[in-house]
């Protein structure tokens, strides 16, 4: 078995564009009008207070990612009214991380995958108390 070439390794970073709760929807509308297709949302647990939400888009096999840091205690704006395809993944994040989405067009209210006996936040290192969007 040959050894892999050990070149100077650099830590790979994902090129992302930072957005805030206020300008998220405007950015999503812009990408949609420019002909981008939603690939998915990714939620990454950062610490006790915050998660990262990554919005991945694709156009002609080129990807664009938006990154939004979201406090766990406040609901994030839902983009499912602009892109209906996002409703499923937003529900999934609600289930797994306890983040609430404001204005979800089809809301399973934390029970997309989980039943009452396990409805905690299984993907968080520190589980959080769920808060309703209202």
């Amino acid at each position: 078995m040959a050894e892999a070439k050990t070149t100077e390794k650099k830590i790979p970073v994902l090129a992302t564009q930072a957005v805030e709760n206020d300008n998220l929807k405007a950015e999503i509308r812009r990408l949609k009008s420019e002909g981008y297709r939603l690939v998915t949302l990714t939620c990454v647990d950062l610490d006790e207070e915050h998660v990262d939400l990554l919005y991945s888009f694709d156009k002609d096999l080129e990807m664009v990612h938006l990154r939004m840091q979201q406090p766990k205690s406040t609901p994030a704006p839902s983009i499912s009214d602009i892109l209906f395809g996002a409703f499923l993944v937003e529900n999934e994040i609600q289930d797994q991380f306890g983040i609430c989405f404001d204005g979800l067009v089809l809301n399973f209210e934390n029970y997309l995958y989980l039943e009452e006996e396990v409805a905690r936040t299984p993907f968080c290192k520190y589980s959080v108390i769920r808060k309703d969007a209202q």
Partner: protein, 358 residues
């Protein structure tokens, strides 16, 4: 007209896997479909906390048994890119060969189940008989029929001998000729056309806006195939994405039929060009930073997101499977069709629920 809500699934004769749909019907016409998931959910992305990144290959292979090889390839490809590991060319070709064999068996499986979905049992049996040849190739070359488990970080675990290559080529010859003998039945038979043409329409704009993937996207006239990203050995092989323009169940099944033949051709090309050399390299160190990977699964675009923190456990692994992307388009296809056509339309996106829920 009074509205009735009909539950469809989770245990339903045409569904090999449990998914539930609440169908609102007026007379015989479906007006709304709301999917309910969770019957196959395991939460396996979280297993990266307790299994190290080498062991996670075995876990991601079991996201879905039908395309297990392609999941493992996407995972390894993504992490190798992050860790800047150069995979030997022979390993790249071998990965391509097994992944295209998986596409052949997956599409044959689906064509069979689809035929079974509208009651064409004879076609179902014929197609599954052909599929067994591909399963035999898997078993003979890797040791297992379904979950082949050939990928390791830095390459593959098994090699092909010259004798095996010759045998695979002769078997593929038979698969191709037997499949072509059924072509007129799959594409032109009265029963097939009666049940699929014009059923489950998805326009080009809808498909794009709702984020459809794979044959569902290509059946609506958008030529996008992640194999054009040239991962593994696809940069050296010749192929064009298969596109159909009608956007109905028939167009989607035509895409899959033509892709089966295309994949057989790709395997053949790869076997002829197979370079000599090592089949794997040793991978040192732990993943750090962030990365994404995309490959084309039989059902469409597969997306992985990795976040490593320099330990042997990944901090976050996110898997977006094609069926997950195809559920919103399905909810858009169902309104307006007759209740009796629901099974056919549901099957037409090639639903893989264990992928969807993971």
């Amino acid at each position: 007209m009074a509205k009735t809500i009909i539950p469809f699934g989770p245990q339903h004769p045409v569904l090999p896997e449990p998914i539930h749909l609440s169908l609102t019907v007026e007379d015989e016409i479906v007006t709304q479909a709301v999917p309910a998931l969770g019957y196959v959910h395991r939460g396996l992305e979280k297993l990266c906390d307790i299994r190290d990144y080498h062991h996670m290959i075995q876990v991601v292979e079991r996201v879905c048994g039908i395309c297990s090889k392609i999941h493992a390839m996407c995972y390894c490809h993504g992490l190798e890119e992050m860790m800047q590991v150069e995979v030997p060319p022979r390993a790249k070709y071998l990965r391509t060969i097994w992944s295209e064999l998986h596409r052949v068996h997956s599409h044959l499986l689906w064509l069979g189940l689809f035929a079974d979905g509208f009651g064409f049992e004879a076609l179902f049996y014929q197609l599954w008989k052909i599929r067994e040849r591909v399963m035999d190739i898997n078993e003979a070359t890797t040791g297992n029929r379904v979950i082949v488990s050939v990928n390791v970080m830095g390459g593959v675990r098994k090699d092909l001998s010259l004798e095996q290559i010759r045998w695979i080529l002769s078997e593929l010859e038979l698969v191709e000729s037997e499949l072509k003998a059924l072509e007129s039945t799959i594409l032109d038979d009265y029963t097939v056309k009666e049940r699929t043409v014009g059923k489950g329409m998805l326009t080009k704009e809808q498909a794009y806006d709702l984020g459809a993937a794979g044959p569902t996207l290509r059946g609506s006239g958008i030529a996008q195939d992640c194999r054009q990203l040239n991962y593994a050995a696809f940069s050296d092989l010749e192929f064009e994405p298969v596109v159909e323009y009608d956007g109905d169940s028939y167009a989607r099944s035509k895409v899959r039929y033509r892709e089966t033949l295309q994949s057989i051709d790709l395997v053949r090309q790869a076997l002829h060009k197979l370079p000599d050399g090592e089949i794997n390299v040793k991978v040192k160190g732990n993943p750090e930073g962030e990365g994404v990977a995309r490959v084309e699964q039989p059902r469409g675009e597969l997306f992985y997101y990795f976040k490593g923190n320099g330990t042997k456990h990944l901090e976050r692994l996110r898997i977006r499977t094609p069926t997950f992307a195809n559920i919103p388009p399905l909810a858009a296809m169902l309104p307006g069709i007759e209740l009796a056509d629901v099974p056919v339309v549901v099957l037409s996106i090639d639903p893989c629920i264990s992928c969807t829920e993971r």
